[in-house]
Amino acid sequence: MNNLNIMIVGVGGQGTLLASRILGNGALNMGYDVKVSEVHGMAQRGGSVVTYVRLGEKVFSPIIEKGEADIILAFEQLEALRWADYLKPEGTFIINTQKINPMPVIMGKAKYPESIIDKIRSRFERVLAFDALSVAKQTGNIKAVNVVLLGVLAKLLESDMPKQILIDSMKQVIPEKLQEPNFIAFEKGYSMFEPSQAKI
C-alpha cells in the first residue's frame, strides 16, 4: 500500500489527540511504519488544532502538507474549511457539521462563513458530512464525538486496517471503565456510511 496520510482537525479540547493516538496504535498493530504529529501547549487552549497521522511501509516526515492528505477527519465545520487545501483532489472528507464560533465571530468582528459544506462539496467529490454531536448524544455519551468520527473513518479504512485492529487499539488507549460507552459510539459511527457513499 502507498503511504496513507490522515489529518485530524478541530478545536482545542475536542479530543483530536485521543483519536490520533488510537489510529496511530492501530497502524502499529498492523505492522505499518507510522508517525503521529501533535500540537501541545498554547495552541491547545480553544485554538485551531491539527494532528497528522502518516502510515505505510516507511514514513519519513511527521507532517502532511497542502494537497497531500488522503483523508481529513474534521471535528468542526470551520476547521474543515480552514484545512481543505490539504486534501488531495480525490481525497475523502469526513466532517462533523457542528459549529464552534471562534472569538472574532463571538465578538462580532468576523462572520462565520455560510454554506461551508456546499463550498467543500463543490471542490471535492468524496464528502461525508453529518452531525456527530447528535449521534454522540443518541448513544448517551456527549463526549464521544471523536469516537463516532473514528467509527466512520474505520469503515473507510477497512481494507487497510480491519475494524477489530482499531477496537483493540482503543482498548490500549482508553481507560477500562470508559471503554464500553466508547465502543457503542464507535459502532454507531461505523454503521453510518458505506465506503461507496463517500461518492455523493
Binding site: 503521529v36 491547545q44 519519513f60 516526515s61 480552514r82 472569538m103 463550498k119
Partner: protein, 581 residues
C-alpha cells in the same frame, strides 16, 4: 518490543534504560512530557524544580554524588540554566549527566525562536540531535555513556516536531548503573580561579578528543544515493530531506557539536552540489564554510519558521509551490482563548476597566493581551513582569507606577518573580504585583509547582504561603482577593495602586480545568430580561455567543462560573434547566 511513543516519552525511556536515578526539570512546551513520563518510573527520583537553573544544579549535584542524572527544559529555559551549564562543563561529571533542551522552530508555544545549538559551542559540551522517537531513546541512553567517557555534560537537543511526534520505538531492557563512589576532589569540583584555570586546560583537551570521536562515531552516518546532490542535515530536517529528494546523498549528523571536519570534507569532495538543510540559524553551514567548502544554505533557505519537504523540493529541485485557492475567502482565525470558567477572566475584566498599564508575564494569562481584553502591555520572559514594572516605576515616577500593575502566575512567580519583588522592596519601589494563583502551572498542561502542595509524583508536600513569603521579603501590604468577586477585586486593586509603597495582591481561584473544581452548571440568558447591551460579551467568554444579534450561552461549554451574571446589569442570566442527555 515495539511501541508507538512520543519523542518526549522515548527520551524518558532512554533515561530509564540508562539507569538514570535523578531527574529535575521545569515545565515548558515542547519539553514538558519528558518529566511526566520519567515520573512513571519508580526507579527514578523525578521532580519539578522552581526553575531551570535549579533543575540543572540538582542534576549537576546528583552527577557529582555518583548518580546518573538528567535535567529537562525548553530552549528559553536553557538561558536560565546557562550559568551552571558553563561551569559544569569545567567540573565535568562523576556519573553521566544529560541536559535535555527542546527548541521550538515556528514558535508554536514560545516567545522567541532561539537556536540552542550555540549553547553547545559556547559552553563547550557535546550535543546530540535525534531525528525520531527511536533515536530519542537510543541517543539519550548513549548520552549517559558519552558523558562519562568524556567527563562532561551532554546536551540532547529536540525540536517541537521530534518532541511531539510519535513514532515506533524498540524498547530495550534497562541496564544496572550502580551509584558511583563519591570522592572529594577539590581541584575538579570547586571552581575558583586557580582550579578553573587547570580545568579549562582539561576542557580544551576534551574538545579535541571529542572532535576526533565525532569523525567516526555511531551518531553520524552517510547514506549514499548518487553523487549529484549532497545534503548535510540533522534532526527533523533529515526526515523532510528524505521525503523531498529521493536521489540525494545525505550526511546525517546525530552529533551536531563538535562537528566532524574530515567526514564533512570527504563527503563534500564526493558530491557535485552540496547543501546544508537546517532550521533556524546557519550553525552547521557556517562551520562548513569556515573549512573553505562551497556549500549552499541560507542563501536559499529561511532562518525563520519551520521547514517542510515541499519547501526543500522548491528550493533545491525548483519545484513550483502548490497554489490552491481555498474554498472560501476570509476564513476567520481561531486564536487560543481563556477557557470558560477561567479565573483570569475576572482579573482582566477589571484591568481593562481601569485602563492600567499591565506588565505581563508567561502563562495562560498572556492570552489577556489578545481581544477582547487586550490588556497586556509587555511580555518578555519568565518573571519579567515584576522587575519591568519596577523599571517603569523608576523611569516615569510614582504617578506612573500608580497606574501600572505587574501580572504574574503562581508558578512563574516562584520561577523568577520573587527576586524581582525583592528588588522592588529593597530599592523603594511602589509597584503593585498581582499574583494570579490558579493552583497549577496551566499553559503547559497542569503541572504541580511549589505552591500547589503536591510533587511531580503526586505526593503531598509543603506548599508555599505567598502571603507569608511576600511579608518576609518586606512587602507590608499583602492581600488575597477572589478574581470572580469583581467588585471587591476592583476596590482592592484601586487601594493598593494608590498607596505609596509596594504591594501584592494574591488573586486566588483554581483553574476551572482542575479536578475537583465544580460550579453549579450552565447558565442561560432570559431573553425577556436581556436588553442586548452586550456587556457580557466584553468578558470574552467562548461560551457566550452572538447568534444573529441575540446573545446566547452555549450550555455545552458553560461551566457556571457566574462571572457573566456579575457584569449583567439586568439580572438576565440565570441557571439553565437540567439537561437530560
Amino acid at each position: 518490543m515495539r511501541k508507538l511513543m512520543l519523542g518526549n516519552e522515548a527520551v524518558a525511556r532512554g533515561a530509564y534504560e540508562a539507569g538514570c536515578r535523578v531527574s529535575s526539570a521545569y515545565p515548558g512546551t515542547p519539553s514538558t512530557e519528558i518529566s511526566e513520563y520519567i515520573a512513571r518510573y519508580d526507579e527514578i527520583f523525578a521532580e519539578w524544580a522552581p526553575n531551570e537553573k535549579v533543575a540543572m544544579e540538582v542534576a549537576v549535584g546528583a552527577s557529582i554524588a555518583g548518580a546518573r542524572a538528567i535535567c529537562c527544559m525548553k530552549h528559553v529555559g536553557l538561558n536560565v540554566a546557562a550559568d551552571p551549564l558553563f561551569t559544569a562543563s569545567y567540573t565535568g561529571v562523576n556519573a553521566g549527566l544529560v541536559v535535555m533542551v527542546a527548541d521550538d522552530p515556528g514558535m508554536h508555544s514560545s516567545q522567541n525562536e532561539q537556536d540552542s545549538r550555540y549553547y553547545a559551542r559556547s559552553s563547550k559540551v557535546p550535543m546530540l540531535e535525534p531525528a525520531d522517537s527511536e533515536e530519542c531513546r537510543s541517543f539519550v541512553r548513549k548520552a549517559f555513556e558519552l558523558s562519562e567517557k568524556f567527563d562532561c555534560p551532554v546536551i540532547v537537543r529536540l525540536t517541537t516536531r521530534i518532541a511531539h511526534s510519535q513514532s515506533i520505538v524498540e524498547i530495550q531492557e534497562p541496564e544496572k548503573a550502580e551509584l558511583k563512589e563519591y570522592k572529594k576532589d577539590f581541584k575538579k569540583y570547586v571552581m575558583m580561579p586557580s582550579t578553573a584555570r587547570a580545568r579549562h586546560v582539561e576542557v580544551e583537551k576534551r574538545m579535541s578528543a571529542l572532535k576526533e570521536y565525532a569523525e567516526d562515531c555511531e551518531f553520524n552516518k552517510i547514506e549514499w544515493n548518487g553523487k549529484k546532490i549532497g545534503v548535510i542535515t540533522s534532526g527533523v530536517d533529515y526526515q523532510y530531506t528524505k521525503e523531498a529528494i529521493k536521489d540525494a546523498s545525505i550526511l546525517k549528523l546525530g552529533m551536531v557539536y563538535p562537528l566532524p571536519e574530515k567526514l564533512i570534507r570527504d563527503f563534500a569532495a564526493q558530491v557535485e552540489q552540496l547543501y546544508v538543510i537546517e532550521q533556524l540559524e546557519p550553525f552547521i553551514e557556517q562551520y562548513v564554510k569556515s573549512l573553505g567548502i562551497k556549500v549552499v544554505g541560507k542563501e536559499i533557505f529561511p532562518v525563520m519558521g519551520e521547514y517542510s519537504s515541499s519547501l526543500i523540493r522548491q528550493k533545491i529541485l525548483g519545484e513550483k509551490s502548490i497554489k490552491m485557492e481555498p474554498p472560501a475567502a476570509d476564513i476567520p482565525v481561531r486564536p487560543p482563548v481563556m477557557c470558560p470558567g477561567c479565573p483570569h477572566r475576572g482579573v482582566y475584566h477589571v484591568l481593562k476597566k481601569l485602563k492600567l498599564v499591565v506588565s505581563g508575564d508567561i502563562g495562560c494569562y498572556t492570552l489577556g493581551a489578545l481581544p477582547p481584553t487586550e490588556s497586556m502591555d509587555t511580555c518578555v520572559c519568565m518573571g519579567a513582569s515584576v522587575s519591568m514594572a519596577h523599571g517603569m516605576n523608576k523611569a516615569r515616577g510614582d504617578d506612573f507606577a500608580k497606574k501600572t500593575v505587574a501580572v504574574i502566575g503562581d508558578s512563574t512567580f516562584v520561577h523568577s518573580g520573587i527576586t524581582g519583588l525583592i528588588d522592588i522592596v529593597y530599592n523603594k519601589g511602589i509597584s503593585t504585583v498581582l499574583i494570579l494563583d490558579n493552583r497549577t502551572t496551566g499553559m503547559t498542561g497542569h503541572q504541580h509547582n511549589p505552591a500547589t502542595g503536591f510533587t511531580l509524583k503526586g505526593e503531598p508536600t509543603k506548599e508555599i504561603d505567598f502571603i507569608k513569603l511576600c511579608e518576609a521579603i518586606g512587602v507590608e501590604r499583602v492581600v488575597e482577593a477572589d478574581p470572580f468577586d469583581i467588585k471587591t477585586f476592583e476596590k482592592v486593586l484601586k487601594e493598593e495602586l494608590s498607596c505609596d509603597e509596594s504591594s501584592v495582591i494574591v488573586a486566588k481561584r483554581p483553574c476551572a480545568l482542575l479536578k475537583g473544581v465544580k460550579y453549579e452548571g450552565p447558565r442561560r440568558i432570559d431573553s425577556d430580561k436581556c436588553k442586548n447591551c452586550k456587556a457580557c460579551m466584553l468578558i470574552g467568554c467562548p461560551a457566550i455567543i452572538d447568534s444573529d444579534g441575540r446573545i446566547e450561552i452555549n450550555e455545552a461549554l458553560c461551566v457556571g462560573c457566574m462571572l457573566c451574571t456579575k457584569v449583567c446589569n439586568f439580572g438576565a442570566i440565570s441557571k439553565a434547566g437540567v439537561i437530560n442527555e
